[in-house]
């Protein structure tokens, strides 16, 4: 049974700008899917429709057996709890400590009041330390996030999403602001999490070569429509040209 299913989803911003047109695909549990496409093609709109940061205009999105388009406020919270998200600009609260940012992953589980006063159980804090250890950040636990490097910040972002005990991790351009070596570390962690923890991963990636190396399945979109959906091996240069409408495929000749 698929964990996520898009059925004829469309999104129109402000009644005028068409971001997504008739998108349909489904993702099985444990998959590592990469969505590629030029900027502005609708990649991040797809991710944000899943956790309802953006409301799709038409169609239905089934996540874990529930139609999230019909979800009310409470159910949206449930969906978001189960879907961790990491961002291009990390989106951490820079002035708080690493451990506090990781613990933010528990907010979806808390009553409003205990979340407001920031009351976390000892078990949750220990779990946070364990996740940090797994990501090699133990020594940074009490540092303020604005003292960290980009790569470290993104690992905090991953830790925060793992703290949610998610079934799905949505990665919105996770390495677009990072240098190549940090990018590799982040992608290795994501791939590791996907394989060992069996967490489904959907990653928007700008770099085609990275997508080809890490993903088990590629979805290519252009102007809000899916133009490719299949394994990386079958993504030919001609297809890449279709997706980017340019010779960006040249950049990755070494991969094919």
């Amino acid at each position: 049974m698929p964990i996520l299913e898009f059925k004829n989803v469309s999104k129109i911003y402000n009644n005028t700008t068409k971001a997504l047109t008739d998108i349909s695909f489904s993702v099985s549990e444990g998959e590592f899917v990469s969505i590629i496409g030029p900027s502005g093609s609708g990649k991040s709109t797809i991710l944000r429709c899943i956790n309802r940061l953006v409301d799709a205009t038409q169609g239905s999105i089934i996540f874990d057996g529930h139609d999230i388009k019909q979800a009310d406020k409470k159910e949206i919270r449930q969906v978001r709890k189960k879907a961790g998200m990491i961002f291009q600009h990390y989106n951490l609260v820079d002035r708080l400590s690493v451990i506090e940012n990781v613990l933010h992953g528990r907010l979806g589980y808390k009553s409003v009041i205990s979340g407001v006063i920031g009351h976390y159980t000892e078990a949750e804090k220990e779990k946070a330390f364990q996740i940090l250890a797994m990501l090699g950040l133990t020594e940074q636990a009490y540092k303020r996030c604005d003292e960290l490097s980009g790569g470290q910040k993104q690992r905090v972002g991953i830790a925060r999403s793992l703290m949610q005990e998610p079934r799905l991790i949505l990665c919105d351009e996770p390495i677009a602001s990072l240098d190549p070596s940090s990018s590799k570390i982040i992608m290795d962690y994501l791939s590791n999490i996907n394989e060992t923890m069996k967490i489904t991963c959907i990653a928007n990636l700008h770099q085609v070569d990275v997508a080809l190396r890490y993903a088990k399945r590629i979805i290519g979109i252009t102007a809000g429509q899916i133009v490719y959906d299949g394994p990386p091996e079958k993504l030919t240069k001609a297809k890449i040209y279709d997706i980017y409408q340019s010779d960006e495929g040249e950049l990755i000749t070494d991969v094919k």
Binding site: L53, G84, L92, L107, G115, V116
Partner: protein, 273 residues
């Protein structure tokens, strides 16, 4: 020396840039001159008299505007009025800041309120900001009379309007990204405000509060003249009695207070930002 300078020959089109620039400057200069003449006529402003008055004023100040023994004996009273004005300014700013913070939240993008609510918040803030504090002061005098609360509320309304707009802008600028992430974890708006918005915007907010305290000390001096409270009242009193040496001590004490607060604020800002 000027003649020996060597300049690279200019391309043709660049010369025309200089010509148009010169023309714009000339036009701007003429425009400003016109405004100046019209304004001077409208206000009966004597340009020569104005220039002459400055040296005259300096001489006058050097002769009369200096604290004498009688003025120094009034220092404790002056300081008590000064501290009253300072305390009102702090209290006004703190109260207005607390109200403005919570009032500004529905006006920001961080709380995902309906657009019409955000609009109403902005309109109310604009109303309080654009009605000058002296209007509030004159209005409040009707019911409160010459009372410390008259100035308090007058400054409160103006500060509230000003800070609400500032906080909306600051919060949207500083916390937009972390707010999105917190919502994505399933946090409620209240949790997002306390875990994301407040920690990330607090330094900016404190900095604005310090700035408004400085501004309000100056404003409350003026309001105090209308409402007969604080240091403004005291200056007015000495001034009308033509006790200029006591009035000068009032000015000196205000200057020292304002500069001290400015220096302290800058120090605090350096540490917290």
């Amino acid at each position: 020396m000027d003649q020996t300078q060597e300049k690279a020959p200019r391309p043709q089109d660049q010369t025309s840039v200089f010509v148009t620039r010169k023309r714009t400057f000339t036009l701007a200069f003429l425009g400003v001159a016109l405004i100046f003449v019209i304004s001077a006529v409208a206000t009966d402003y004597e340009v020569i008299g104005g220039l002459e008055s400055i040296p005259k004023a300096v001489v006058w100040m050097a002769r009369h505007f200096i604290p004498d023994a009688k003025a120094w004996s009034r220092l404790p009273y002056i300081l008590s009025k000064l501290s009253e004005t300072a305390l009102v300014s702090v209290a006004v700013t703190v109260c207005a800041a607390i109200c403005a913070f919570f009032f500004s939240l529905p006006g920001t993008k961080t709380t995902k309120t309906a657009p019409w609510i955000a609009r109403i918040v902005r309109i109310i803030a604009a109303f309080f900001r654009n009605v000058p504090d002296i209007v509030w002061a004159i209005l409040l005098l009707f019911s409160f009379g010459e009372n410390i609360l008259t100035g308090f509320f007058a400054l409160f309304f103006a500060t509230f309007g000003m800070l609400t707009r500032t906080f909306i802008e600051t919060i949207d600028e500083v916390s937009a990204s972390c707010v999105e992430a917190l919502y994505a974890t399933g946090a409620t708006s209240l949790q997002t405000v306390f875990n994301g918005v407040i920690p990330s915007s607090l330094p900016e907010i404190v900095s604005w509060v310090l700035y408004m305290i400085e501004t309000n000390i100056r404003s409350s001096t003026l309001i105090g003249m209308l409402t007969a409270t604080g240091i403004g009242y005291l200056f007015d009193l000495y001034y009308k009695r033509m006790d200029y040496s006591s009035a000068s001590l009032v000015v000196i004490s205000i200057v020292i207070l304002v500069i001290a607060i400015e220096i302290l604020s800058n120090k605090i800002r350096k540490v917290i930002m």
